[in-house]
Symmetry: C2
Subunit: 233 residues, 2 copies
Amino acid sequence: MSRRSGILEFAVLGLLRESPMHGYELRKRLNTSLGIFRAFSYGTLYPCLKTLVANGWLIEEPGSVPALPPATGRGVAPASSLAGRRAKIVYRLTAEGKEHFEELLSHTGPDSWEDEHFAARFAFFGQTEREVRMRVLEGRRSRLEERLEKMRASLARTRERLDDYTLELQRHGMESVEREVRWLNELIESERSGRDQRRSSPESSTQHDTSGETGGLPRHREDTRPDPSDDTK
Amino acid sequence: MSRRSGILEFAVLGLLRESPMHGYELRKRLNTSLGIFRAFSYGTLYPCLKTLVANGWLIEEPGSVPALPPATGRGVAPASSLAGRRAKIVYRLTAEGKEHFEELLSHTGPDSWEDEHFAARFAFFGQTEREVRMRVLEGRRSRLEERLEKMRASLARTRERLDDYTLELQRHGMESVEREVRWLNELIESERSGRDQRRSSPESSTQHDTSGETGGLPRHREDTRPDPSDDTK
DNA sequence: AATTTCATGTAATTCGTTACATGATTCC
DNA sequence: GGAATCATGTAACGAATTACATGAAATT
């Protein structure tokens, strides 16, 4: 019962699996860390957290403020170390929550290939088993190929009667899809050749795979611009 | 009043501007002809049509069946030529509807740069004035550049702490955006150099611009596969 | 002292879907 | 005559947003 959205629930559990957080922080990570994630609002997030708690997947803890500064008498009320502080609820995954998340991770349904679901799943591939990763990647690919088929068909059918702009829009749309298919091909390829069945424990890696090419994801370089600025406008 | 969605209303008016249609057909065109348009369901479309009628922008006409076949006594009830036929309501744009659409076309707000709105607007660039086209393209571009900024920032901030997959997802996302920016650059460029202020009358063109290169959209070739098949699964 | 950013929540509303209900027409 | 597709609609529900309301903490 209470068929909560899927995608948000999934992402919240996934993020909380890595470390406990409070809502505000959670939302930011939802919008940044994860690739595509659209900006969920608080009006969505908080009620969702509530139901996750109700389901026994999360517990609320009194907020121990992240990096509590020296606080030598400065400010209004230094109070009793970290006791009387209102609000700032930190959510932590329970054992059942963890279990539930694992189950979500290992499941794949036709939804898993859809745009947003796919992105969410991909974002947690780090804790997904190899076999499931493959299923998701391949499912996504065939979903896109289906879509391409339709686009091509409709293009062929209507080509003559459309103005340049509509045509250009379709063309660009198709190219985007084709591009994603190529991306998936690369990923699938490198999944096949990669041998590591790695399975989480979030504090591994940072120097994961010193060999340049084989076994990991396909290599792409990216200009390293240190560019500190704002986040979600 | 009755702040109807925008995007669906806009698209419906735009499609009907070209020619009258009934709901079923309309929906198909929504999902195919226009580039990106997500599949609206009937449960969305029909009520929308109703309110557009209520606003005086559309009128319902008894359906003259598209290509009515000889019908020489065959079938159940040939009836009185095309009189007693139930349903099949054809919607036609009224003068006010046309006016309203023109106004929507010439307006631009911050919404116009968002993904779906942008696609919808672009799909009707054929009947949009040059100046407005420019505004929309440039608005979209700066919207995307903003987005890129944020992505870069968040990448720089979190790079070390993320696993390979999350990173790869972000990288791919950024590349997609960068690609669209390049596309927009091309379009803007060719808008600048193109001289035709063309403004609709849908029955022009089909051989619009016999010169290969200058003035129109940037040229891209595309394999012409005649591939007749189904539409919306 | 004032402003900004952090932080949590709720109520009303919007947008859109699913599932259902119905029936005509065409194809085999 | 039975299946598929065309065609129109409605009611119940779902997901998420906006606008509102509140207040603590940090920055300037």
